[in-house]
Symmetry: C2
Subunit: 553 residues, 2 copies
């Protein structure tokens, strides 16, 4: 007997397939790619799509913006190219949960018409396709955040960020997959199954913005919106070699965006961009901050985008965090950091060791905060539809169905306040340590940024999330730093040999290091984090751009 | 039998008295004032202190700053004058909990020596005495926050704000009284008894920064630091005709300041100045914001002090909140608002009605947040010393001593998150309504500020807190607005007649209005609030200054 929730899933999948024009539907898309000798979806799509579409979908937002403004490209052809590519990418990777190409192409035509009539663009994003994680609300379209029970209830409202992007000319055409509740570093739900990695289809796309990561890396979107509570923007970016930013809380509007654990303010989720170049990340930030959303969203800090360009000519100081003392990164990750440090030093910048003494407390706090309700919300959301709890978030759910209120498995408010106070304490200690680095630098100035891994490994394959550890991402959620994800290299089996005589620090450290096999991760991307202090988004991007230029030369 | 906590109180009182030089001690100080025909402590002190000291202690911070810088006054004579005046004010009003004149006079001498040697001041507050609410930590001095159990345990650390003020040249000499736990609009604790009003000794000084309000209004301090979670800066300022600012959360550093309910982040307490003129409030803010405390305190927003002086030449738009629809202000309060509206209109500014539809929800939320632990912390703090729960905060304590963990009188974290989410909802609705005022104004611009009462009455007398209502203050804690307290008038029995044919909206409304008797409140000060949006401290001060200038002309 097919259960009710399964019927809803079938319905959802049917709708999604029907939203793809028949001429773009492919039977066994993934198998076709493999048969054609590809494991990298971007490469495969570049090889099989029309040349004109390939050219368009390999452009950055800045390039598209320019071409559209000059009249060299129409919004329609840009939209059409990304829709087509997204349709096929989705059939391979399973990265979209909502597809509405008709609406998008109509909007693109309207924009072209406006341009034709007036000679003007409606805004700096005129005709730019932007993909949205399935938390952003668009009227008439479901927002499920990975739960079956939310399927089939189209939103009535529009998230403020979507509204601003649209006012600036953006075109929406897809919403992307998320794991149930967005609380996992991989992307799987009963609604859509597993989302695969665009660089290597056997790997996980990461999570929770896994649909975004896969779609953008496949070339199906030039820029997408993700969210991050423990690494959810940065993990998919890192697993797929993308650029991304985790802004501080309060810099980018989250208003009207669906979420788990509404009202959980100790470690709040933040919203930010993923893209294929740093310039696009900066463009997005400038446009959104310049939109003064603080006039509508009380959580946004009323702070203009600041000019920090003079930084680029200065000597910079970096703190290097080779390891957090708990999980040793795999050799390619350490090499990426080493190469970065080398080019920085060669260019006259300074690098000092970063060893924050409260690192372990930071992680323990994240665990306590994310586990404060023992998974009660997830448990109850699943009860509504009858769907089983998704595999990837099972570790979070320790809630007792038979709880009658006397079993204190959900913590009380006074315990919660202790966690809030612990967070403040750790943030204070962190700044103290940051300022303390002035004792280590030659000019007695504190560091400008931290360099560290994003993830201890270059991703993991489906079913292998036991090798996952959010150590390097979740720290910055607890501390609310701004962190740029910068692609540095790819795994090179010939030079990235396993650590000889490895002495593990913990059982998990041992397990994760045992997962390293150079061939297994061959050519997987390796990114690093360039992190600045709270609300220093401008600086984090500027510093990352200095690092990038040195790495490129 | 004298109980242990009573011994501690006796000890504390003895120390406090001993800290006053014998020549400044007065038997029955209050009775002496009354016998001399005074009820206003400022007037009395002006009449009985040496003329030179009266002149100094009636100067503003800006004036003192100038005189010290020019060498026209020494830091020592300024400090001496304020110490002397504070000593007597305290003996009348019971407004200090810590006195350390020796330390202060030594520091003032050192500053004079520095000035003599170098011809320079150490900073913009060189030699300015500043009083601190008994939450700020100074090494070697108790911080009790109104609890007996904290008495006799000198602090080891210094609050960051105190550190910055000191670096800028300020001199500390007293800490001022607070009600137990700082959760009351009047100031009383087992440690020090009741703090009276400096304008009329029969009245309450307000709370929880009641010691500050009384001391500054008596002329015993030119500027003091208070905190505000439901009106605690604004109530004492209003009851005593002072200027004050409730900044938004994150503008002024609260780091290293003792507090109740640490980690309660839904409606956080904020810290700010009380003074005798608006210029001093602005000076304080400029100095502190300019100190970049965000480099040490992770809660401070990294935002420079912004120049909004051009505002002063512009046409402004105001929302007038005559009533919150729950408690009708007494006639003198309404007259203060009416007079303000009249001068504004006459000067070409625009005033529209402000009637936020969610006003009641805002207050209900504050009540739920402040009652979330049912007074558990207060209950347990009292249990440590054995002291009884202070009368003024008894309404907050509904905690069951026999609770074994199964009685859910403390809410759980999921309920707490609901309150956090409700707060966000109300703040969003508030901004929506604020922007909506553009539909009411002649130039389609939203309002610049709200004008409203601080308190429905011009204070209350000891034992009459049943007539208290935080309706007009707590709203801005929930909404995190910036609010300036502006003295407008005093109660004038001849013109402020009781409302005829009053129709109460609620039982409390009826009770509070029945409390009005023009003679009873004769000459008590009446202040209003000038409130701007979150993190608009610069604007709130600039707008208040426009209002003040018009009221003065």
């Amino acid at each position: 007997m097919t259960r009710n929730w399964e019927l809803k899933v079938q319905e959802k999948k049917k709708h999604l397939l029907q939203a793809i024009p028949p001429e773009w539907r492919i039977e066994n898309a993934k198998q076709s790619m493999i048969s054609a000798g590809f494991s990298n979806t971007r490469h495969y799509l570049n090889s099989m799509l029309p040349a004109k579409e390939v050219a368009i979908t390999n452009m950055t937002v800045c390039q598209l913006q320019n071409d559209i403004k000059q009249g060299a490209k129409t919004a329609y052809e840009v939209c059409y190219s990304f829709c087509h590519r997204a349709a096929i990418a989705h059939q391979i990777l399973n990265c979209c949960i909502e597809i509405f190409f008709d609406q998008a192409l109509k909007r693109a035509s309207d924009l072209d018409e406006y341009f034709k009539q007036t000679g003007e663009i409606v805004g700096p994003l005129h005709g730019i396709p932007i993909s949205l994680k399935d938390q952003l609300n668009l009227p008439g379209i479901d927002t499920t955040i990975g739960y079956v029970s939310y399927a089939g209830n189209p939103s009535k409202s529009k998230s403020l960020l979507a509204q601003v992007l649209e006012e600036k000319g953006a075109v929406f055409y897809v919403k992307t997959t998320v794991p149930m509740a967005m609380m996992a570093p991989e992307t799987e739900s009963n609604l859509h199954g597993y989302t695969y990695n665009a660089i290597n289809h056997e790997f996980s796309s990461g999570g929770s913005s896994g649909g975004e990561g896969a779609l953008i890396a496949a070339g199906g979107s030039p820029l997408g919106i993700g969210t991050d509570i423990g690494g959810s923007i940065r993990i998919p970016a890192s697993f797929q070699g993308l650029y991304a930013l985790r802004p501080s809380h309060g810099r980018i509007t989250y208003m009207g965006v669906a979420n788990s654990y509404l009202g959980q303010e100790v470690i709040p989720s933040v919203i930010g961009p993923l893209a294929t170049c740093l310039g696009d990340i900066e463009l997005f930030m400038k446009i959104i901050v310049g939109s003064h959303t603080w006039e509508q969203d009380p959580k946004v800090v009323p702070m203009e985008w600041r000019d920090v360009s003079s930084l680029k000519a200065e000597k910079l100081r970096f703190g290097i965090m080779w390891t957090d003392g708990l999980i040793t990164p795999h050799p390619p990750i350490t090499r990426a950091l080493r190469e970065t440090v080398e080019v920085l030093k060669k260019a006259g910048h300074e690098v000092v060791e970063w060893k924050f003494p409260y690192q372990k407390d930071v992680l323990e706090l994240a665990e306590k905060v994310f586990g404060a309700d023992r998974g009660k919300e997830i448990f109850e959301m699943c009860k509504i539809s009858g769907e089983p709890i998704a595999e990837c978030i099972k570790p979070l759910v320790d809630f007792d169905a038979d709880d009658d209120g006397t079993h204190p498995n959900v913590i009380d408010v006074t315990k919660w306040w202790e966690l809030g106070e612990k967070k403040s304490f750790l943030r204070e200690k962190f700044l103290e340590y940051w300022l303390h680095t002035s004792k280590e630098t030659s000019d007695s100035q504190p560091i400008d940024a931290i360099l560290c891994p994003v993830w201890p490994t270059a991703g993991f394959k489906k079913g292998e999330s036991r090798y996952a550890a959010v150590n390097y991402t979740a720290q910055f959620n607890v501390l609310d730093l701004t962190s740029v994800i910068l692609p540095v290299t790819t795994v090179m089996p010939e030079s990235d040999l396993p650590i000889s005589n490895f002495t593990p620090m913990t059982a998990l450290d041992e397990l994760i290091q045992s997962y390293y096999d150079p061939e297994y991760f061959d050519r997987m991307p390796v990114c690093i984090q360039v992190a600045c202090r709270r609300l220093e988004e401008e600086k984090a991007i500027a510093v990352a751009s200095v690092v990038e230029q040195l790495l490129e030369t």
